[in-house]
């Protein structure tokens, strides 16, 4: 059974704290993604990575950074958390092999609250 796991289901942090969200996939996928999910706005891409140590900005990268030191692990970092970063964060992975299509496999999400 394919799996994307996220380090925390719920997280409460204070404004200005540095926050790390971890994601691990066991499917040997090349691509990994971080989204945030807000009501009415759908899933918005923050960053993605198509290989180890490679990263590309998505639609809303401001206030975030990422790290991919190993193929299976993709971390999202909030350098200085702010209240407007309170949201659900979803990690996903996909294969880069075209014949397999573009299905993305999602983790269960981390609900982050910044006070």
């Amino acid at each position: 059974d394919v799996k994307v796991t996220q380090s925390s289901r719920y997280l409460v942090k204070r404004t200005g704290e540095k926050v790390f969200l971890e994601c691990v996939q066991d499917m040997d996928h090349e691509n990994m993604f971080w989204y945030r999910q807000d009501p009415g706005l759908g899933l918005r891409l923050i960053y993605f990575s198509y290989d180890v140590k490679m990263k590309e900005k998505g639609d809303i990268p401001e206030g975030y950074s990422v790290s991919r030191e190993k193929k299976e692990r993709f971390s999202l970092i909030l350098e200085s958390a702010s209240t407007n970063q309170t949201s659900m964060y979803l990690c996903a992975s996909s294969s880069s092999i075209r014949g397999l299509g573009v299905e993305q496999f999602f983790g269960p999400g981390t609900r982050l609250t910044v006070l």
Binding site: G42, S94, V102, E103
Partner: protein, 112 residues
Amino acid sequence: QQQVKQSPQSLIVQKGGIPIINCAYENTAFDYFPWYQQFPGKGPALLIAIRPDVSEKKEGRFTISFNKSAKQFSLHIMDSQPGDSATYFCAATDNAGNMLTFGGGTRLMVKP
């Protein structure tokens, strides 16, 4: 600016009804249109997908209708069940294939 617009934002139907969720896109380079289903406490999961060379695709009770000239596509759920209550996202991607652009989501409730 959302490149994929989804409506309605929420929908309530009775068991056995046929909820319809609509999506419209702008980018003519999009060539793959998946729908994802998300249950509470879970991440989204691929439900059904279509490419623009067909106008309809059916998998079980779920059907995608696609109108290339209007740049619109929709999800129909036949004989809906309370277990179909979930949030549904349409999405689109171009032939590069790795990036998905998601619609805003529709929260569906099917009443018993």
